[in-house]
Amino acid sequence: MVSQKREKSLDVQQMIADKKNKGLGRKAEKLVPTILFITAAVSVLTTIGIVFTLIFETIEFFRRVSFWEYITGTEWLPFAGEPSYGILPLVLGTLKVTGIAIVVAVPLGLAVAIYLSEFASDKVRRVIKPILEVLAGVPTIVYGFFALTFVTPMLQKIFPSLEIFNALSPGLIIGLMILPTIASLSEDALSSVPNAMREGALGLGSTKLEVALKIILPAALSGVLASVVLAMSRAIGETMIVSLAGGSTPLFNFDVTGSIQTMTAYIVQVSTGDAGYGTTIYYSIYAVGFTLFIFTLIMNLIASWISKRFREEY
């Protein structure tokens, strides 16, 4: 009917009709979502795999060590004649390092983010952002040596009482390592605040600083906080830097100048050490791994709560 009224050299609709029902178009259309769903399910399988990996050895560990001692004990001495397995010193070690890292990375990272998003020209941003991303990509083992062989000796000149192994130096370096995460993700959050907000505020005679601090930052708060939480879970999970520069002394105190041990460093210590297979020590790394997993889970729940709670509608 359509084609009658035209004189055309080609009748495309007719060709289309001829081609139809040939080939495997229909089948692909059904199959593809299933395949894609499976790829998406891999991430869930990974989580299940992690829990599966950790759970049996963890259970075995808690057959030997009381759960209560584990979560309340302030002594972590698995290698002593009478071993004790109180996780708190390891948690404290992790928190010390993470705390220092956050204290360094949040103000600096935010400053960088604000500079790049609100003050720098497009060109500058395009150059600096990828360079900063190199900082995030530097292998942590490199940072570890840097902390141990450069930062610690330098800090010792300032604080002579600083021990070779301490929480301060790896904390600072982890701060440097997560700085780009905060800077880059916060910059994304800040830049994605619509320009209309900036124009509105500038139009009222605000300086750029006032726009950044009073309008853009609050509007991007959920993204900024999420970046901080993500950076924090990176800091908690960081392994090589603390193994190399933090020491292996799990002490329950709040001193940052002395040797510490974090949960991750403990796992590395045992993984590369001489502890016998099948011993309680061996099972303990799974329990510690599980604890780490729970930690990041909690962090993530906080992050998603934050981004719901603080999301600004615009």
């Binding site: 009917m1 359509v2 084609s3 009224k5 035209r6 055309k8 050299s9 080609l10 009748d11 495309v12 609709q13 060709m15 289309i16 081609k19 139809k20 040939k22 080939g23 178009g25």
Partner: protein
């Protein structure tokens, strides 16, 4: 002055109709169409018949449901997950809202041109050949022919024939829009839906597109949404006035612009709001 133009154009149109002197079939018959976006009742009891080889204009203030109605005609509105419809839209006597109706088939028959030119980030050639290719036409010679024929049909062949393999984003807005029209012509649809096709274009490009619409209606049925009342007056045969999701008035274009039956239509076409 506005009205003078309107009247003049409408006269020539009516003359043409008389000359052709043939009854026009309905391409679309819309019966009691209702549409909701979630809770929002966006289209209310629409009843509209659209004739073939005709330009039908849809006008109305922002948010009145023009685009929604247009997108219902090729079921593009379904891309919004929360959409719900009742009623029926018969395209060539078959209800396209039936579950069994293949949207892909519908959309090969019903082309669409959008408000903002939206060429693919590919070469001009690949843009035009996209439709035929996805429908299985692979033969290089046939494709070459289709591309040329469609670009000619969209009155842009001469401007781009030497740069068919350049990226379509290198073209100006007006050229891009005609590329999009050509892309749509490449599968030789029966109906062409146009959603404010000139609102992002400069005056000269607008004129070209308007002329093109006039030519195309010889072979295609065209439904065009526009916020420019003069444009509706200039190029359409029939005009529907939408307000708040309802069709307030649907009639011959000259009637709508010179002597509307509804007060609200009159207010609108005289520019009292919108």
């Amino acid at each position: 002055m506005v009205q003078a133009i309107v009247r003049e154009e409408q006269q020539t149109k009516q003359e043409m109709k008389v000359l052709q002197n043939q009854p026009r079939e309905n391409v679309y018959e819309t019966n009691n169409l209702n549409l909701w976006y979630g809770d929002k009742h966006a289209l209310k009891d629409i009843n509209l018949n659209i004739q073939e080889n005709n330009v039908t204009a849809i006008i109305g203030p922002s948010g009145c449901g023009k685009s929604t109605y247009l997108k219902t005609l090729n079921r593009m509105v379904e891309l919004v997950p929360s959409v719900r419809t009742t009623g029926e839209i018969n395209y060539r006597q078959r209800n396209i809202l039936d579950k069994g109706y293949s949207v892909e088939e519908l959309r090969t028959k019903v082309g669409m041109v959008f408000q903002k030119p939206n060429p693919f980030p590919k070469s001009i050639y690949d843009n035009i050949a996209y439709g035929p290719r996805i429908h299985g036409i692979k033969n290089k010679k046939v494709l070459d022919q289709i591309v040329e024929q469609s670009l000619r049909g969209a009155a842009i062949w001469d401007e781009v024939k030497d740069r068919l393999h350049d990226n379509a984003y290198g073209l100006s807005g007006g050229q891009q829009q005609r590329i999009c029209i050509a892309r749509c012509l490449a599968i030789e649809p029966d109906v062409i839906l146009m959603d404010e096709p000139t609102s992002a274009l400069d005056p000269i490009s607008t004129l070209k597109v308007e002329e093109l619409v006039q030519e195309l209606k010889e072979n295609y049925s065209i439904i065009i949404v526009t916020h420019n009342m003069q444009q509706a007056a200039r190029i359409s045969d029939k005009t529907a006035f939408f307000l708040n999701g309802e069709v307030i008035e649907f009639d011959a274009t000259d009637k709508i612009f010179s002597n509307p039956s509804d007060k609200r239509t009159e207010d609108y076409v005289s520019g009292r709001f919108g």
